[in-house]
């Protein structure tokens, strides 16, 4: 089965036989279970950087198939919250459970968790010494032990999806920022993750490249992927998200659907935040 299919709700005639853990329609089991158990639970999580208390008793959850946008002022702790979900930051207290796996220090569990959680960074972080194709195939080959021809075929399908199949044999330095970020998305998708984390994916891009990345993300959202996106792109939040989390001084200050969040906002702090963005 192609990794593309794992994240697509639509049945495809070209899909192979369903694998264990995937329902015949191609959606992941989590989508079905989503109403019962959230995919990610964050329970009373605290995090300090020295004296700075960046996350204060954060409690929330993320359902399968849902697109959540996390917004907030710079330094509010939104990126830190995202990074605790796959242990790029350690939380000091509280519990985080992702797809039944508790986020902890056990290396085996951590590697298992991380291969289910895709991450896209602000600075792309492509491996500069590898070609685009090698960037995308590295993790499936090493972690999933996918044979090289199969991994390359899957990678080419993903690169086609993000519109970069023609660049497969180039090195990252030869690509524009927007193209690099799309490769980074394809690289994360190659592990067929249950959830994708985006840490300000368009903040390092020139304005004309923001759209091509957002378009790929929209397409991904339509396919049913569970997404958690830290961003300042309010248009994306309004249009694509199912839910907006506003983080203020390490707390979830508001958790609302986008219509409500961008509509008659009653919270003074959020009104002024949104006002500054549109100014």
């Amino acid at each position: 089965m192609k990794p593309v299919m794992n994240i697509s709700k639509a049945p495809s005639p070209s899909a192979g036989p369903p694998q264990a853990g995937l329902d015949p329609l191609g959606g992941s089991v989590g989508v079905l279970n989503g109403r019962r158990a959230p995919l990610i639970t964050v329970d009373h999580v605290n995090k300090n950087f020295g004296a700075a208390h960046v996350l204060r008793d954060v409690c929330t959850h993320f359902n399968a198939g849902e697109v959540t946008v996390i917004v907030g002022a710079s330094g509010s702790g939104k990126s830190t919250l995202l990074r605790t979900l796959n242990r790029l930051e350690k939380h000091d207290s509280g519990r985080i459970v992702v797809d039944g796996i508790e986020v902890c220090d056990d290396l085996k569990e951590l590697d298992a968790l991380r291969s289910e959680v895709g991450m896209v960074f602000q600075q792309f972080n492509l491996f500069p010494h590898l070609t685009v194709l090698e960037n995308v195939t590295l993790a499936p080959r090493r972690v999933r032990k996918t044979p090289k021809p199969q991994a390359e075929q899957q990678a080419m399908e993903l690169l086609e999806r993000v519109g970069l199949q023609a660049h497969a044999h180039k090195h990252p330095f030869a690509l524009s920022g927007g193209q690099q970020q799309r490769v980074a998305i394809a690289r994360a998708l190659a592990m067929a993750p249950r959830v994708m984390l985006f840490d300000e994916p368009t903040s390092a891009l020139d304005p004309e490249m923001v759209k091509e990345v957002l378009d790929v993300m929209k397409q991904l959202a339509t396919s049913g992927m569970t997404m958690i996106v830290v961003t300042h792109e309010m248009g994306f939040a309004r249009e694509v998200s199912d839910r907006v989390l506003f983080i203020d001084q390490g707390r979830v200050a508001q958790d609302a659907p986008p219509e409500e969040f961008f509509g008659a906002q009653r919270n003074e702090r959020i009104r002024s935040f949104l006002g500054q963005l549109s100014a």
Binding site: N86, L88, L107, D111, A112, R114, S115, E116, V117, G118, M119, F121, Q123, N125, L126, F127, P128, H129, L138, A139, R142, V143, H171, F173, A184, R187, A188, M191
Partner: protein, 266 residues
């Protein structure tokens, strides 16, 4: 960059890729080195006395110098990687061991180290009575390893943190993260100082002379003692060293070019 004679006319077919050119240079330089080691006595024997009649000895000495450099060079890179890993480790004991090793090997003269391994080590531990060649290899490896460690550590530290985060977030284990992501990038950064150390090692191998290893400098000295003609003999030795370091530099330039996917090496 090609070997000197090739550079006079346009060196490469236009269709050759960077990697093909790099491979061709490495192969050509390695071939030149082997031919030189194997056949150098032939042109040397045509030289007037005292070089011509001692051509075989010069050839033997050169082979020994190259052998010392090759053995200590490879062992030195391995030691350097291990010590660099130790020094960047999260475990304090590993850091201490690596730091102490680098501290001692960089802080004492190589000549003392060579003499120590050959003469003093057997006094401490009788089982470690090594031959002159083995002693020189051990001392040179340990010495160049300490310098390599700092070069490689600088490379490791220069790899951006985001690279490791990206690799780990894909589910790659710490081992694969090192093999596939950190080390190749660190090695590329470390390459120029590593080559520096290797060239220094080639010349420092002359200190093996002190414990009687029959390498190039030792040969030169012996012939000089018999003929009392320092000028031609030392000139010959120096020229051979220069030729060896030139070939070495060509090979390492080609290696550097191979890693240079961005085309930044002029």
């Amino acid at each position: 960059m090609s070997i000197l004679p090739l550079r006079l006319h346009s060196p490469w077919p236009a269709t050759w890729s960077r990697q093909q050119r790099s491979s061709a240079t490495m192969a050509a330089a390695a071939l030149v080195l082997l031919l030189f080691l194997w056949g150098m006595a032939i042109p040397l024997s045509a030289a007037p006395e005292p070089i011509g009649n001692n051509a075989q000895l010069f050839a033997e000495g050169t082979r020994m110098t190259v052998l010392l450099t090759a053995v200590a060079g490879v062992a030195g890179v391995v030691l350097g990687v291990l010590a660099a890993l130790g020094k960047t480790s999260k475990l304090p004991p590993l850091r201490w061991i690596a730091s102490a090793y680098i501290w001692v090997m960089r802080g004492t003269p190589l000549l003392v180290q060579v003499l120590f391994v050959y003469f003093a080590l057997p006094v401490l531990i009788p089982a470690l009575q090594l031959s002159d060649f083995a002693s020189a290899c051990v001392a040179l490896s340990l010495n160049v390893g300490a310098y390599n460690a700092e070069a490689i550590r600088a490379g490791l530290l220069a790899v951006p943190k985001g690279q490791i985060e990206a690799a780990r977030s894909l589910g790659l284990s710490p081992g694969y993260t090192f093999i596939d992501v950190t080390f190749p990038q660190a090695f590329k950064i470390s390459l120029p100082p590593l080559v520096n150390n290797l060239v220094a090692l080639l010349k420092d191998s002359s200190l093996a002379y002190a414990i009687g290893v029959v390498e190039l400098t030792n040969i030169g000295n012996r012939i000089q003692a018999a003929t009392f003609q320092p000028l031609p003999i030392l000139l010959t030795s120096a020229c051979i060293y220069l030729l060896l370091t030139t070939v070495l530099t060509q090979i390492s330039n080609a290696v550097e070019r191979r890693f240079d996917v961005e085309g930044r090496v002029a």
